[in-house]
Symmetry: C2
Subunit: 144 residues, 2 copies
Amino acid sequence: MERDITAMLRENGFKVTPQRLAIYSALAATKAHPSAEMLFNELQPHYPTMSLATVYKTIEILRELNLVQILNTGEDSFRYDADTSNHPHIRCLACQRVDDVDPVEWGSFYQTVGDSTGYDLRGHQFYFYGVCPACQREGAKNDQ
Amino acid sequence: MERDITAMLRENGFKVTPQRLAIYSALAATKAHPSAEMLFNELQPHYPTMSLATVYKTIEILRELNLVQILNTGEDSFRYDADTSNHPHIRCLACQRVDDVDPVEWGSFYQTVGDSTGYDLRGHQFYFYGVCPACQREGAKNDQ
DNA sequence: ATTGTTGCAAACTATTTGCAAGGCG
DNA sequence: CGCCTTGCAAATAGTTTGCAACAAT
């Protein structure tokens, strides 16, 4: 699933920097859907000069190149996903982890939404909310 | 669909104030899914002392009483909806309006999501993105 | 009279931006 | 070497909070 980001950057007139490679690699290597701060904290030890501003600037470029999608699960910060396919996500209301949900078979449903609203559809996001298996085990209360 | 908010507030130990009635009435009377600022601007003429802080505080109470749901369509502010049913929403990428989508028939799909993730499901949000009929007519460019 | 509420202003936080120093090509 | 990028710090914007005056019960 990981793309050749070096070529992608060059072809689009962006310079290849260690920070950009590190941020994309971190995103492509995880299914945790990290926030900007989570990425920053993970990369900080190996890239001591890494700044949060660079994380945000890089993510914006990656989004332009369609190498990353931005998730909005209803928290106070965004999550980022190097899997740009249109799959649903689910967030645990107790520990806030964000997981993937297997892609849904749309069939004629998508068509129906376009017809009933008159919109020219360009995309969608599906979010589920619940309590993850681990939090169920420790009888977590349903926060948030 | 509008509930007896006066009784709801009293029964839950909240006082009934003109501001609270006005905010809920405004939400119950529209399908525009207003943001806090939109509500504030609409109510300001009739309630000159209305403050944004009161809008936020009131919405939090209404959410606790399940009289309002909070939408996160990916803009930089939240939208609010007095229709607390679990129906999908769609936002125009050109003019940012947010519309309802007819509720979807889930059938066994919801069950499938619970089974495949192991989550104890509590809710979901579906967001669609596209260009609304009005913006299509004026050949709007697809912003955002 | 008591207790909760309002509304101003200040605080907070995620994100964005300006700009001088530094790195890529 | 020229231009883009970095990273610090400051700015921004939505939302939250502290608190004294005020209103609901």
